[in-house]
């Protein structure tokens, strides 16, 4: 069954169609959340919360964007809300603890944990997210603005300043 038909069936209450949609998009969603949160456990928890929210809000999905884009929009906003509630201090050490598991997972597969990933882990979430959406997933500033409920100008400046911060961090490490 194609995605469009699955969405139609899911909207009319078909549980199997929902399950198939999630099954098809789960890996994409978790990998996106891993890059955003830099923590595999948080990524999996958020993916489950995202699916729950999706079941609740499926009637609002109009099909203007791809279903996967809609899912990552929900996931992004859930993560931002979660971080806002936690009001956690952005302590370097704490952040390093957060991405330790992902670092270990990559290194156990003989993949290098790059300075760029460390630098990305150190910048604020609301700066890292637009960088990932722009430079990895290829969304436009307008699309990211819509996803994060911010103006495209704000997104553009966050991306620019974020890259400058990463560059500075990379130079410091050289």
């Amino acid at each position: 069954m194609e995605e469009g038909e699955l969405i139609k069936s899911a909207k009319s209450g078909d549980k199997r169609a929902f399950a198939m949609l999630f099954h098809q998009n789960y890996s994409f969603l978790v990998k996106y959340l891993m890059k955003v949160t830099m923590n595999p456990d948080t990524a999996e928890e958020l993916a489950q919360e995202t699916m729950a929210r999706c079941i609740e809000k499926i009637h609002l999905y109009q099909g203007k964007s791809k279903f996967s884009s809609w899912l990552i929009t929900i996931a992004t906003n859930l993560y931002i809300d979660q971080q806002r509630k936690k009001k956690r201090e952005k302590n370097w050490q704490q952040q390093e603890d957060l991405y330790r598991k992902l670092k270990w997972q990559l290194e156990s597969r003989n993949e290098e944990w790059t300075d760029a990933l460390s630098a990305l882990g150190k910048i604020a979430d609301n700066v890292r997210i637009p960088i990932i959406l722009k430079h990895y997933y290829g969304y436009s500033y307008d699309e990211i603005g819509e996803m994060m409920k911010l103006s495209s100008g704000t997104i553009k400046s966050r991306v620019h300043n974020g890259i400058l911060a990463v560059r500075k961090e990379l130079r410091l490490n050289e």
Partner: protein, 116 residues
């Protein structure tokens, strides 16, 4: 002239290192995409999540509707009780609410006019 040329060279160097940083970010994220292990559970697991969430939503709906009905019944009983047993209080309250609403909107309107 030389200063301007040096400035332009610095800009090009800045642009180049900016692009290089972006490339490095992209490559690093690609390594996460390719090598971070993600285990996708089977279809039944997803189906259970859907069933659980739907049950949860149904329970919440029943709870909300019950609370709404109870509050509506209480308000309606109080109003009817007042109307049949103490009509003076009922009409006094009606008048008081009407005057309060008119007063509130008049004040708001006056405030808006003064601001403009």
């Amino acid at each position: 002239m030389n200063e301007r040329k040096n400035g332009m060279d610095n800009n090009y160097a800045d642009d180049a290192s900016f692009l290089e940083t972006i490339k490095e970010i992209e490559n690093s994220l690609e390594s996460v995409e390719q090598h971070a292990p993600v285990y996708t559970p089977n279809l039944e697991w997803f189906e259970n999540i859907v069933i659980e969430k739907k049950q949860q939503l149904r329970k919440k709906l029943i709870f909300d509707v019950s609370i709404f009905s109870i509050v509506a019944l209480l308000v309606l009983s109080a109003v009817l009780f007042m109307l049949y047993n103490i009509p003076v209080v009922f009409f006094a309250l009606q008048g008081l609410f009407s005057i309060s609403i008119i007063g509130y909107y008049s004040l708001r309107f006056i405030k808006q006019v003064k601001e403009t």
